[in-house]
Amino acid sequence: MYHPILPALVLALPLAGAIINGVGAFLWREDHRVARWVGPLAVGASFVVVAINFFAMKASGTTAASVVSLWTWIAAGGLHVGVDLQFDRLSMVMMLIVTGVSTLIHVYSIGYMRGDPGFNRFFAYLNLFVFFMLVLVTAASFPLMFVGWEGVGLCSYLLIGFWYENEAYSNAGKKAFIVNRIGDFGFLVAMFIIFGIFGSLDFSQVLPAATGHLRYGDVWATLITLFLFLACMGKSAQIPLYVWLPDAMAGPTPVSALIHAATMVTAGVYLVARTSVLFALAPISQAVVATVGAGTALFAATIATQQWDIKKVLAYSTISQLGYMFLAVGVGAFTAGIFHLMTHAFFKALLFLGAGAVIHSVEHAWHEAGRHGGDPNDMRNHGDLRRWMPVTWITMWSATLAISGVFPFAGFFSKDEVIWKSGVLGYPLLWGVALVAAFLTAGYMARLMALTFHGGENRTGEEARGHLHGAPLAMAVPLVVLGVLSLVGGWIQIPEALPLPHVSALEGWLDPVFEPAHHVMAMHGGAAATAAPLGGGELTWGLISTVVALAVVVWIFLAVVRRRYRPAAESPEPTGLSLVLYRKWYVDELYDRLIVRPLMALWRGCWKIVDDGLIDGTVNGLASGARAVGWVGSQLQSGRLGAYVLLFMVGVLVILGTVAF
């Protein structure tokens, strides 16, 4: 029998860290020693507690969820919501990923944020984020999950606009916040419907009862899941609500790695996986999720091919990879979705951290050389950095091969699983889309590596070159750890079809969680096919995809390395299709025309007419009216005694008149 060990501590430790560092941001702003230790240790200790719980749960072999009730939060009429934490196999996987990757990124941040005046504040926000992320994944009810959902959104906002003196950065924070609001609306509506149907918002009440309350294909199941997916689109940056994520790169790079790549943006995938049985009951929603996911995967990958900003490439890459995860959970391969979520957390965090190391180094070199202006994020200003940054270079190659899906790196196993499942579970078109996107992925990653680390020519500038440096120890260690994980992280789940030992650790671990959903799908859908849409088995296609991916990597790499690039300031503007892709298909402009400007005009109208005219007019009118009456009254106060006595006598007559009659 498994009982969660010190469950509250998992959440309390990061919260305590946030409080200590938050106090520090005020009281010992200049002294960064406390934050340097407390920030990473709070999260690291939380990871240790999670790990202990993981082994305890594994040893017990339980498949049930353990709910820990802390206290009652809302009790109103039939609604009862407790602050209840749920420790089950799915939340355990998520907790391990969140605390593990967070610990590494906290350590990295010590080096990256060194000397920043907001150092303590940064760690306060980062710790707070981990706390809310853990609330999100351990919540045992929709409302508490929503608290975490909103909390991570808040931290995301705070950290995107961390350097708030820069207006563009704080605007990026606002953009993220507002776009996410649209998604949150979906979460709320879904909750209302769920409460209306089930009379409860606890996972333990709703999910097991789903098949009893809802028929397969029930319109309410479709509505609930579509609204939930709306929330996911916002949080996990899917078409059409993905636009905030590239702008969110304004935040410090560790933030991009932790929040906007490894953890927060995957919350939507977790939400679908958590409510898998509801999605299984709504085939239309499943198709929508899968289609949006595959579409996003391809669409974002095309944009990534023509970006010059290293973080923008990674941002679109993240959107694209999130698309894969939704494709997986959409077709019903929930384990594959979570698997890709996990490997992606490793290699994408690593890519961001590596990019951060590059930016850090270039920025530092420019600063030393007295150069101002120029964009340290622009890959045209990098070039041949492997000579200065070998650790970053090698580890990033590990991540690149992983995300490109080259055997035996982690991404090969998880991505191939996603693509294969979409093919055999009845979505041949999406299977094709996913394959194409996978090859694009290999392409843009090879381009990124070639531009940044190779080419035999460095473009940072003569004076600055001598100041380039490798990642300091605090940054290098997380890079190495994540580099190793990018290689071996996929080995926990090796398909039977490959001529390798069959490993299904993750699938075996998560199957009980998704059992109800699989059961519903097995009852109503057909059996999974055994061959890909174009024929051929899993082994064939695994072989094809890894060979093609590797070929694309080599081809693009050589093409880019052979070309001579000039620093960003001297480069010509892109033209033709690359301009369209560089401009991100003009989606931001489209939104601006179609949504932002009409709304602004409407709101300006409201402001001028309703606010200024109607409301202010009424208020000001009342005020002037009162003043006018007051003025009349003050005229009665003439200062003449006779007038006062007259007023007095009027009063006397009225009073005596009323009492007499």
Partner: protein, 526 residues
Amino acid sequence: MSGASDVAGQVGYLRALLPEIVLTVSALVVLLVDVFQRGEHRGPSGSSVRWLSVIGVLLAAAANVTLISLGPAGPDALVALDGFRVLANFIILGATLLGLLFAFDYLKREGLEIGEFYALLLLASVGMMILSGAQDLVLIFLGLEMMSISVYVLTAFNREDPRSAEAGLKYFLIGAFASAFFIYGVALLYGATGTTHLVRMASVLSHGHPGLLTAGGAGLLLIGFGFKVSAVPFHAWAPDAYQGAPTPVTGYMASGVKAAAMLALFRVLWVSLGSVQGYWHGTIWWLAVLTMVVPNLVALVQDDVKRMLAYSSVAHAGYLLVGVAAGGPLGRGAALFYLVVYTLMTVGAFAVVYVVAGKGDRHSHLADFRGLGWRRPWLAGALGIFLLSLAGFPPTGGFVGKLYLLRAAVGSHQPGLAVILVLTSLVAYYYYLRVVWKMYFEDAPADVPEPDVTGRAFRFGAVLCVAGILVAGLVPGPAVDAAGSAGLTGASAPSVDESVASTAPGARQDAKPRTHPRRAAARAQE
């Protein structure tokens, strides 16, 4: 009832009137010491008279404490011995103490350091205490006149200043006029009931058949009191007198005179005329409404802060009349609590105004307060708190006081009064916050005169006021309890009273349903 508390005998009266006696003696001592000190020459009085008068007030307060242990007075006693009187005395003595503390600097600045000032102030306070504590209309009238005559003189105290003299004269003339109404009302009530004693009058009225004589008497009494509490439309003297009087006197008048008259009105209405509410309740209701609405509106267009505060204090009479109209333990508690807070904030506000206005009280225009927050942070901070409390913002006592009044109004099923109180308070925000705005959000041009330097007595008084307001706002419990449990001798069925008060805020002291005053009067006349 123990022998000590039997005030029918002469010794009993000496004990029952100890605070008034102590204060009277202090006033006489002050006069004598002043005469002997100054002798023939007409220079300023020595500082000893100041401290003697302060000591007199403190001794009177100590004597007032001894009243608590005395049991209720006998049914025929001329003065009441109840919690209501004790609290009223404390309020009056507090206003007197603050008036004295704030007067020291002012009198020195204006060259008015004459011993009579202190003696008059103390005698006026004696009159107030008698007014609010007496149980007989004749004695009430005596207290009223004793207070009024002293205050007339105080108003005109600065003979060199024509504004002061004019204010005193106006106040006196209309005051004499109002006193005539008052005494006529007493005569009519005596004619109707054969007594001037409040408790006995109540029993006569509840058993007999009250007629037109009673109605007329009640109406005339209301007019007399309406003048003293500056209820609209008998308020016209107030802004002129308040503005013309020496500023510390204004603060003292606005608080002490109003407190004494308001509490006496409460006692007379709810003790002697409680059974004939139909004759007066509608009138009080309308007086309250008019007194809330009119001065608040007129204050909006005042550009002189002293005059604005004068209108504000008239408006506060309206809020207090809500407590009177509510009646019962709740209304009583609300009125008493509000008077405590009101005294602190009004006296304090007027005091700050005279400091800013400078010699001759010339610079009390709104423009003279520009940038005060940066020039004199402590002074402006104190005034800010007084104004916020007058406006009724938390966490000041003014907020709690208004809340209490609202509860009393709603509890006595007069939501109309509550609504009007809230709306007029809202209007008042404008003119209170305008001063705050001037102090903190506008820069002072070079030609704005520098406010006076404040003395120790002023600072002590100001700290007392601020502290009192904040305590009343943050921990109102003890004061609310004291005010809420203050008994009123002769208020109908006190035992039912208290039990109802403790259970429901909406309790009224008489079970009689309120009907339209005129119809009730008609029914009473049948």
